[in-house]
Symmetry: C2
Subunit: 425 residues, 2 copies
């Protein structure tokens, strides 16, 4: 009947959600860690390279990526290595970032703009150098494009992971929280610029800095335009987009659809959809309907976000060659140090945050998460099969930096809580 | 970079949701019709055979079905005519039916059991004969398997469409509402039995009634077992599955995941996932946590259900040959009459419902919706390319019966409302 294939997707979807939920609960209740951590580790455990492969090894869909090569029937357009489950994962991360945007305290976000920008730039330089140099020293065979890609992977900061950690810890609306998010967003724009340089270099063999700067400039302008639109014209947003749907109770759904649409639109100028989703969320964060919107969209986020993180974990193949394992360990350490040092300094001296808060900002910028993975995937496409092992390294660094961040943040959050209960706030 | 493909899915998802929302609002506000109707028509308008094809004709994903043929990379397993967007549609309809299940008044559901069963059987006989005979008379070239398939398509009742219409009209928890839903569920079990007879006939050339009866018997037993489990052991369900997740606020999400899992599990015994999802919902309908669960899952349903209906509408190709158009019109009329007559009689004389309520039950059983489409799709797979035109007919009949039902139901609902405001209730 051919319908079984569709049903298997329902099963795989359900199994991943179950693993994510159990992992999240376990981490939170017994290990006193953020749920994201448990969801990621649950993903690693049920991955096709681990338990999923052992149990459902012969099935391409169940606890697998449903990767397909072939062609679209209607147009004959070829498609290769297309990961079907990734579609749900993309929708999930867009919704997660949209909710994070709506939950953000926009006024303090705007206040954090300069500090966030400085933090972002500070967090780019060291990690890029570390990524480039370590790959050059230990994996010279891959060539300059490969070095550049590993550098680019390390520059990123995952808004999704970071936002979820801050949300779970109830620290999203603090000054550190918004600084980190601004930094993460700007970092992604920088990451995209580097990515477009590297991709065009891999294709043509020459550096096209002009084109890269153009992408970056357009990205920043559009991004600020949307932010300002939200902060200044939120009354019009309410009147045009939200009020007509109040009576039917579907207003929050309309907001989330607009978020999905903007997430796509920013991809047309070379940005990643999560950036658009986040800014779309910020647009609604200043409206009077904010609480009502959050009330209607949080359940959707609670339903889908664990899927994203668990699916991220599922992509990790723990079987590495010894040299790749060494590079992985070295890069995890340097990726962490690079961000902590590079972001602590601007947070402390540009943003004039306390020592403890600056450490929170530095550590909060450590997770590479999905943006690191995206660049790694682009590297695999651009460099080809010989990049496969470094791709695994990049994925592991992205995951590992995400895994270690919550535990490192905890003591500093505790101290921040103690500080904030002092009279001077 | 290859990422554009994923982003296009986000766009298509967003565009379908926008069309569904606008269509739904328009139908409700200006035409005073249920939202489902507007969502379906919006789908017909943006379908790849209409506006979507005109605007995005060259793209296989945007407002298209992303139908793919090729193979799974990991296993080499071939896959053909696989409709990628259908995955989201399947998840949406499962969630819709789960919510419908939780919203059902279980006690009146059990009370409606005998009437519902009688209504279902009554609604099968005439439509099956009409479907078989009309196809035999007007499209003899297709052969007996084809006649049987068209008969099978007409026997079904769409739980999804019917539940949504009843929900939108606020009539889900009435005696008529539960009778219709019980009837629809039993109808689907009967439909699956007929389907398995026809499929095995198409494959082997002989009738295997024994196998078909076996599928049907297992289906009914499992279905009743789950229903009884929910009604009798709801305290244990609460204690084992729900209580552990109360503290983290994710209890409704756990319930919906269990719904997805049961939806898949029933497919292993040959039932369609929507039946499992609905029964899983019934399991939770008797728990004390019901209201809390509904509160957390309704936003997810509000978000995804319109996608399902709009996507259903998108599958309609309005360009038909004249003979196919004639068959379509005849079958729409007979499909409606067959259900109304076949269900009115048992509702009136077995269920002892009023004349008005019996008409509501008869009309409520008319939509063929997704189950009709499923059988039509199975027919296309079993009979082959020559069934393509009858497939379009079957889809149009499924859609048309869905489209006309709300308008036909309205006057009877109005009269029921007037009746129920009389002193004797």
């Amino acid at each position: 009947m051919g319908l079984e294939v569709y049903f298997k997707f329902i099963l795989s979807f359900a199994l991943i959600l179950i693993a994510a939920r159990l992992g999240g609960e376990f981490a939170e209740r017994y290990l006193k860690q953020p749920r994201v951590l448990g969801q990621l580790v649950a993903g690693v455990i049920i991955s096709p390279f681990a338990l999923g492969g052992l149990i459902f090894g012969s099935d391409p869909i169940i606890l697998n990526f449903a990767t397909i090569s072939g062609q679209f029937v209607q147009t004959g357009e070829a498609i290769s290595d297309f990961n079907i489950m990734e579609i749900i994962s993309q929708i999930a991360v867009v919704i997660l970032l949209f909710v994070a945007g709506v939950e953000t305290d926009v006024r303090s976000f705007v206040r954090s703009g300069i500090t966030g920008g400085a933090v972002a730039i500070g967090g780019v330089i060291l990690p890029f150098l570390f990524g480039y140099l370590i790959t050059w020293a230990l994996y010279p065979v891959i060539g300059m494009t490969g070095f550049l890609f590993m550098g680019a992977v390390l520059t990123t900061t995952s808004i999704g992971v970071t936002a979820k950690i801050l949300m779970d810890m109830g620290r999203l609306q603090t000054r550190e929280g918004t600084t980190i998010l601004v930094g993460a967003v700007v970092d992604d724009i920088i990451g995209i610029v580097i990515l477009s340089v590297v991709v065009s270099m891999a294709r043509t063999g020459v550096l096209d800095v002009g084109h890269a700067l153009q992408v970056g400039a357009i990205g920043i302008v559009v991004w600020f335009a949307l932010l300002i639109a939200g902060v200044r014209f939120n009354k019009y947003i309410s009147r045009i987009f939200l009020n007509p749907f109040k009576r039917s109770g579907t207003m929050p759904i309309v907001a989330i659809i607009i978020g999905l649409l903007i997430a796509y639109l920013v991809t047309l100028i070379g940005l990643h959809p999560v950036i658009g989703a986040y800014v779309a969320g910020l647009m609604f964060a200043a409206t009077r309907e904010r609480e009502e919107i959050l009330h209607g969209i949080r359940p959707i986020m609670l339903f889908l976000a664990p899927f994203f993180f668990c699916y991220l974990g599922m992509q990790v193949d723990m079987r590495l060659s010894s040299i790749a394992a060494i590079i992985t360990v070295v890069l995890i350490i340097l990726a962490t140090l690079g961000k902590v040092i590079g972001c602590y300094i601007p947070a402390r001296f540009v943003g004039r945050l306390s020592r403890n808060s600056s450490m929170i900002v530095g550590l909060g910028m450590v997770p590479r998460g999905e943006v690191g993975l995206i660049i790694a995937g682009a590297g695999l496409l651009a460099v080809g099969e010989q990049f496969r092992e470094l791709f695994a390294v990049a994925v592991l660094v992205s995951i590992a930096t995400t895994l270690i961040t919550p535990a490192m943040l905890k003591p500093f959050f505790r101290r921040a809580l103690a500080e904030s209960s002092l009279p001077e706030k």
